[in-house]
Amino acid sequence: MKESISIVLSGEAGQGLQTIEEFLVASIAKEYYVFSTKDVMSRIRGGNNTVQIRVASEKIYASKQTIDLLFLLNDDAFERLRTKVTKGTVIFGKKGSVKASMLEECEASFNELDVEELAKEYGKIYANTILYGFIAGIMQLNKDFCLQQIKEKFQNKSDKIVETNQKAFTVGFEKGQQYTDLFNIKSLVNPAPLKVLDGTNAVGIGALAGGCNFIASYPMSPGTGVLTFLAKKVKDFDVLVEQAEDEIAALNMVIGSWYTGARGLATTSGGGFALMVEAVSLSGMTETPCVVHIAQRPGPATGLPTRTEQADLNLAVYAGHGEFPRVVFAPGNLEDAVLLTQKAFYIADKYQVPVFILTDQYLLDSMGQMEGITLDETYLQDSIIETESGYKRYQLTENGISPRGIPGFGSGLVKVDSDEHDEAGQITESFEVRVQMNDKRLRKRAGLLESFAEAELIGNADYNTLIVGWGSTYGVLKEYVETNTDSGVAFLYVKQVYPLHEKLSTYFEQADNIIVVENNATGQLANLLKIELNVSVNHSILKYNGEPFFVDEVAQRLQEVL
């Protein structure tokens, strides 16, 4: 694990934790590396929510389990956090917010800090700005930058609000400065300029980069953020946004949009995707592209609405009846959330198949710093053709791809059918045509493997132990191999989880010990590796309580099987 300090803010919904998180992460990012994540209860007010901000002088992409500085904004929260508090934890809170017996038991130290009391002369709503100032003071962050941020955030409200917030910040800042010895992470002299972003925005930006101009969805956490993101971009990017009456309508609309020549997206979670399954096979049969962002949360059924899990891989890979090709991408970091989402639109368009972007609550709700990336212009190139009269939508071709026309562009007619059909799109019951058409559709798999999103090997290429992960476990596993003293360990980050390319096999052949780390209970990727590549893994490290893996936790669990 890299040297870092983890700051946890604990409060209830409605106390403005997210605002402090945004402020802090942006100002910390000017001087340090930072990663922040949230743990939110499924309720609008009250409850116990936490924000964890981890600060380091080296790059980090994940959160750790133990808390170094804990700020309690409401009482009764401590019990939930108890397992993450150690001897070294320093707690700030109102007098009595932690029971004396409990404090004694965990041996943490306690400092009194009552931000509401401090905010009294400004008003209770300024308590979170005071806390922002207090933490900035401990870390000795650039005060001018912090004040500037406050100004930018509130300037369209009123000068008075800006001024009071800045005053409140300063009160906190000065108090915080008394505790600078609690913070011993070296700040960076010339920090690399990195973009601060969360996973949701990264997927949204990736969609725009992929030419997305249509989104139809039905709200379901944690997929809704992408819908909200694109709704804000309606004017600037010509995106048509519709909240559908249900997920069934949503994906049928998206398919209708692609049929017409748009690039549509549906964003949902596993439960919503379950309803879209019918339309997934419609996309498969009609060879009308579609892109679906599936933001995983724990199931089955409604599960844990605000928590994280990676248990919908099987659903994505097997969704729909009948047999037809599809692609599943699983980005694990911000860069890939942009790039793979962009690529999803291109692949869907080129191969006329459904493409899924499989993320999860943890990736979407976490904020981090992103490396500069270049968006690929070729991904915007449509493969739509101008039709001629006599155009046949389902022309049999060697690579399985029939030139795709759209209605009104050219003199041909675009006839698409969910029944088995002939080359012209007319219903057929010919056994022969059925086989030809099925083969044609399945032939696309070869092309999909040609454009396989390469897996990334992190760590020593001379490994004998290979750790495998997909999606949001990327951060913890990367940090593990980067700090592990045993150089015989590497991490294989699989970004395209379906279809899997044969060339991955060479990574497995080299390893004596293969360990798959997954945020689910049955080892879904491990099973897929067996089915697709006949790879037998030696160990599966699994977690499915609704939380992500933490860096310190993963290190410990890996040690057990190494």
């Binding site: 973009k195 930006i205 725009l208 980069a209 030419g211 101009n213 249509f214 139809a216 309606v234 004017k235 600037d236 990017f237 010509d238 995106v239 048509l240 946004v241 519709e242 559908a244 009456e245 249900d246 069934i248 309508a249 949503a250 049928n252 609309m253 998206v254 398919i255 209708g256 949009s257 049929y259 017409t260 020549g261 748009a262 549509g264 019918e278 339309a279 419609l282 009609t286 009308t288 992103m370 500069g372 990336i373 968006l375 212009e377 915007l380 759209i406 209605p407 009104g408 050219g410 003199s411 041909g412 007619l413 675009v414 006839k415 698409v416 059918d417 969910s418 029944d419 799109g425 219903i427």
Partner: protein
């Protein structure tokens, strides 16, 4: 040779004597008389005997899933408002499986014509009750007779603010054609519930039954009178034929979309700007 007719002979899967044949003729003639070109027209349909319609017309089509013609049609029209879009299917397809979409698309008011072939039975799956089946009608599934009240599509559509509500009968193909033409040219969502006999599975609502139980709206009927339209729609003893209600000038779904507020060009034809996206990633 008509524009929307096939050159080669067609293998049509409808039973001889089925009302769908007349509806097909009415639809082809309507499209023809409106001087539309097949490339400009898209028919979105579901599954069922009625939903096979676009297979038998030379036109763009998206023959999708049971009950799902409307969401597809709405998206097609929104993505390219220059196209003429028709959603077509049976009563089971549109009011049963697709009931939720039926309700919500009336609220959207997309500029599409919605043609529902209402034979008061499920044809393709061999004679089970449909949402519009008469009470006590016996079927292979409803062996003791249908217990549920029949669904009233016209009253539902009116109550939700549909801007064009009509009923036709395939036995009067001339009138059916005229109503279809009006539905297509109406700006906004236009429902045409088209009665037609299923000669194979519905022995109750046969040609004669429709003739005897339907009547024409009088020449001086005022189609702008909502209350009168509702009264006609609620009369399930005698079924009025014609345009029960029309309200013009209501903004359509597409017109209200922010993407078309200052720019009429269909989104499918607009250029995309990657540099602008890159700006979102700059510091």
């Amino acid at each position: 040779m008509k524009n929307f007719e096939f050159e080669q002979e067609l293998d049509i899967a409808w039973c001889p004597g089925c009302g769908n044949f007349n509806i097909r003729t009415s639809l082809i003639e309507a499209l023809q008389e409106l001087e539309l070109e097949p490339e400009q027209v898209v028919i979105s349909s579901g599954i069922g005997q009625a939903a096979k319609m676009p297979q038998y017309i030379d036109v763009n089509y998206f023959n999708g899933l049971h009950g799902r013609a409307l969401p597809v049609a709405v998206a097609i029209k929104a993505a390219n408002p220059d196209l003429t879009v028709i959603a077509e299917g049976g009563d089971g397809d549109m009011y049963g499986e697709g009931g939720n979409h039926f309700i919500h698309n009336i609220r959207r008011n997309p500029n599409i014509a919605h043609l529902v072939h209402n034979n008061m039975v499920y044809g393709l799956t061999k004679g089970q009750a449909s949402p519009t089946s008469k009470k006590s009608m016996q079927t292979p599934v409803q062996t003791s007779g249908v217990a549920n009240e029949p669904f009233n599509p016209l009253a539902v559509a009116l109550s939700l603010g549909a801007t064009f509500v009509a009923r036709a009968f395939s036995g009067y193909p001339e009138q059916t054609k005229e109503i279809i033409k009006q539905a297509i040219t109406h700006e906004g969502y236009a429902l045409v519930d088209i009665f037609h006999p299923c000669v194979t599975f519905n022995k109750i609502n046969n040609f004669k039954w429709y003739k005897n139980n339907c009547y024409q709206l009088s020449a001086d009927y005022n189609r702008n009178d909502f209350n009168m339209a509702m009264e006609k729609a609620l009369d399930v003893e005698h079924f009025a034929l014609g345009v029960l209600y029309q309200k013009q000038g209501q903004p359509t779904f597409e017109q209200q979309l922010p993407v078309y507020q200052n720019n009429q060009q269909p989104i499918v034809h607009r250029k995309r700007d990657l540099d602008k996206v890159s700006e979102l990633l700059s510091l």
